[in-house]
Symmetry: C2
Subunit: 325 residues, 2 copies
Amino acid sequence: MSLPSVLISEVGPRDGLQSVSRTMPTAAKCAWIDRLFDAGLREIEVGSFVPAKLLPQMADVADVVRHALTKPGLTVMALVPNLRGAEAALAAGVHKISIPLSASEAHSQANVRKTREQALQDLRAITALRQERYPGARVEVGMSTAFGCTIQGTVSDDEVVWVAERAVAAGVDEVGLSDTTGMANPTQVRRLFNRVRAAIGERTGAAHMHNTRGLGLANCLAAFDVGVRTFDASQGGLGGCPYAPGASGNVVTEDLVFMFESMGIATGVDLERLMAARDALAAGLPGEALYGMTPEAGLTKGFAYADGRHPAAERLLNRIEKDCA
Amino acid sequence: MSLPSVLISEVGPRDGLQSVSRTMPTAAKCAWIDRLFDAGLREIEVGSFVPAKLLPQMADVADVVRHALTKPGLTVMALVPNLRGAEAALAAGVHKISIPLSASEAHSQANVRKTREQALQDLRAITALRQERYPGARVEVGMSTAFGCTIQGTVSDDEVVWVAERAVAAGVDEVGLSDTTGMANPTQVRRLFNRVRAAIGERTGAAHMHNTRGLGLANCLAAFDVGVRTFDASQGGLGGCPYAPGASGNVVTEDLVFMFESMGIATGVDLERLMAARDALAAGLPGEALYGMTPEAGLTKGFAYADGRHPAAERLLNRIEKDCA
């Protein structure tokens, strides 16, 4: 009997680093990716192909991709906002590109200055390029504001399903749903993933949840309950939508891995190595605030991975010495 | 059709205040309880009946109970560690007493210097007192270390079920399960509440979850999924098991209420008033760290309570002004 398992897609080197105003040096990015890979992560979004004028933090993305491509078995992903970005990313050799597409019309116009129809047209140009010149590459849409929008407020399920169907008709392989500003709740997550799956079947992609209001892990659990098996997360919770002071954005990879492994759901990730990889992130961005409850508290006494393995240094990791009433 | 609903049991004035070394002045405690009640909370654990030598923070508990009893419709709870505490609490007029009882034998001996058998014997003395002199009062057991123990590690489901059955045989009305040190995971929460319900039926009580490793809300969701309808939480996440630096203990009431209301599950709590009640807590304990993601981020644009009501000042509360890709 095989274990239930999930794929954790680490987005920190893209989503995290582009949210920070400082630029992590290329060598530090590569060292961090090394550590994430060594911890067992097998899909990493390593950067964005965007003009360096707009996001200087990502100016070295082709170099970072080149380094990441040396890792055997790693799916190297990059975010691309348009055809030009897709051309550059595919030419650099990435295995998978991710294209943001808004569920909310208001968000689409505010965020990328395109209507959703125009964005879908761009998407068709990108999938045509893929078909013609890079048939081995995968194209994913990350649907932003799928659970609500800070401009228009509520986004209807019908709109989300419509955008998902149109994206699939435009030739993408996967459509993931993103809780861009942390508005999702577990009931909605279950209902919406069920509806999207009914519409586009196995092209239903990742859950990209934010922890803005503390519901990140509960929403991931809800998504797992209805069959989602790929989850975006960011080491230390770096990035996401950090416009609320003190509120972290992305789901913390360390906490997400802890949740699944403790539930008996294999992630392939070694938690001790993953927590140790925070050192590489901290070294590249000294002083940056890192989130994560599991790294603070350590693993639990008696912790076992989904496959039954025990951590190598459990005593050292369990930092809670005393029980409470 | 009536809304699904839950009872949020606020434990901050007991669990929170006894974890803090400073003592909140009696008037400040009463003012905080006023605000919690005004926000719609209808069960509050207002203190512990323990010797003032051991917990000077709780020396004024009888005065606080007296004040809380003036609130119409409020269930006034107190924690009692033994028969002497139960006598004092019931004489003071509390509606409900909560008695900690360890699932783990090792924890029982370390925490209260009694075997579980001795603790069960004390429990029988307490329920006998109730029967004889306070038949209207309720007696609840909060089973600590139900999901794991930092001394013995894993606690078997069989042990938890055995303790629950023995507590019911000793005459208690409810047995809640506590994740004393944040070791629970959603799979275990579902399995264990199902097993306990199969054993003791409707005497299955509250889920008391901790957020030590970030899973607090996910575990509450899991408990709700299997029929739990009472949830302990603490304003600002005060208290719990704060021995891990930076790790909050109790589930944050504000985030828990946000989760349920956004799912369409009524709590009876007004989130704006609840968030404003943090001022009273902060005034009574200046400088104390308060947790909570929803208070940081504000309510979502378009937020509606389970009953369809919109917040009075939504624009002011939604502090996220900008969407992210």
